[in-house]
Symmetry: C2
Subunit: 217 residues, 2 copies
Amino acid sequence: MPNFYNEYERFFVSVDCVIFGFSGGNLKLLIQKRPYEPGLGEDSLIGGFVGKDESVNSAASRVLTYFTGLENVYMQQLGVFGEVERDPGERVISVVYYALIDVHEYNEHLSEKRNARWIDINDLPRLCLDHNEMVEKARKALKSRINTEPIGSNLLPELFTLSQLQSLHESILGYAVDKRNFRRAVLSHGLIERTEKVDKKSSRRGAALFRFSELRN
Amino acid sequence: MPNFYNEYERFFVSVDCVIFGFSGGNLKLLIQKRPYEPGLGEDSLIGGFVGKDESVNSAASRVLTYFTGLENVYMQQLGVFGEVERDPGERVISVVYYALIDVHEYNEHLSEKRNARWIDINDLPRLCLDHNEMVEKARKALKSRINTEPIGSNLLPELFTLSQLQSLHESILGYAVDKRNFRRAVLSHGLIERTEKVDKKSSRRGAALFRFSELRN
DNA sequence: TCAAAAGTGTTAAGTTTACACCCATGA
DNA sequence: TCATGGGTGTAAACTTAACACTTTTGA
């Protein structure tokens, strides 16, 4: 096939994923030790390069599966980081995603093998390049979407208590919400439904377990 | 400088701009005749390729200035279109922006020279590649932001009447809004202020001219 | 004098917020 | 029996939505 654009430059294109999890009442982030120079060994988002025969979105999915073993994960594009000098090694244009995963389902063994680990979002270390900026942007995106998208359905196990869901919302929003108002609001949305099951782990009395309804519009 | 990423592929990266204007009570889009194969002469968004020594955002600004003569235009990244086969000529990864410009200020002579023209958003022709999809995404973004961002300040002339502002909102939203409620709402936001001037062109009685307040938070 | 756009308030409905006590259970 | 987290209702404040007539003026 002839090349029509040959006068133009070509660039490395990477994908970087801000991977959120929720565990122990706290929002977590999956990070790795950067596997190449420059910045070898520094803390880094999970990322990789776009390949010849895959779309940019597919590259992000591939990277995510490579690190977690999970497929069909909830992911959203956040934007492009395209400053000339953002990577001191080579010019790389990065497409950033955020992903939400259920930390109870992912392949822990695999991510350890990949040198990845979960950190609490509030103990975020300094990350390489412009990765802290990417995390900041992802947190803002989560905050603004938590009340309109069923974000919890990706971060929580299939069955969960309303207290867990509330605690997730509070972690994302960064402030406490009123228990009664919260329950009324999420129940009225009709996105979750009560099951017959009861969770006895977190309290003496036991808490009703809910699940996200299957129906999507 | 050594190349650390040499095993990876490099890609053409383009920027495509969904450029909105507002004139005669209608939302407009600036399009061009595609200047290269494949699809030479087809209707196309305003676009170009990212160069070696410019950031992706700068490339978008450069393209916009090239076509309109305007600088410091309001632009926002919309996302990346990165399917493998989206351009049948070559693999090109496109970063999409939307921009809002005041059609009374831009350089009409220049855009004509560039073979660009304004079309009414409701008479949108079939555009090349995946450009219609980009426009659709941009319209949704506008809709969801019209009530939180001072979008009008970029699309309207410096002085405008409330009827013009309302008509702009209606064009973006796609439905009529109540005049009294609209006026109360925009005035209470405090983003616009009344001037002493009066517009006599659009009515016998004359309408007060407003401007967007300088103050930004 | 009339056509055409500008301008102006009030009420009802709905939504959001604030707030405190009893319940069930296992240790 | 008591400590712990689970579960529940109501009233006030605020926001949104619906609705129609008068004003000004150039032709």
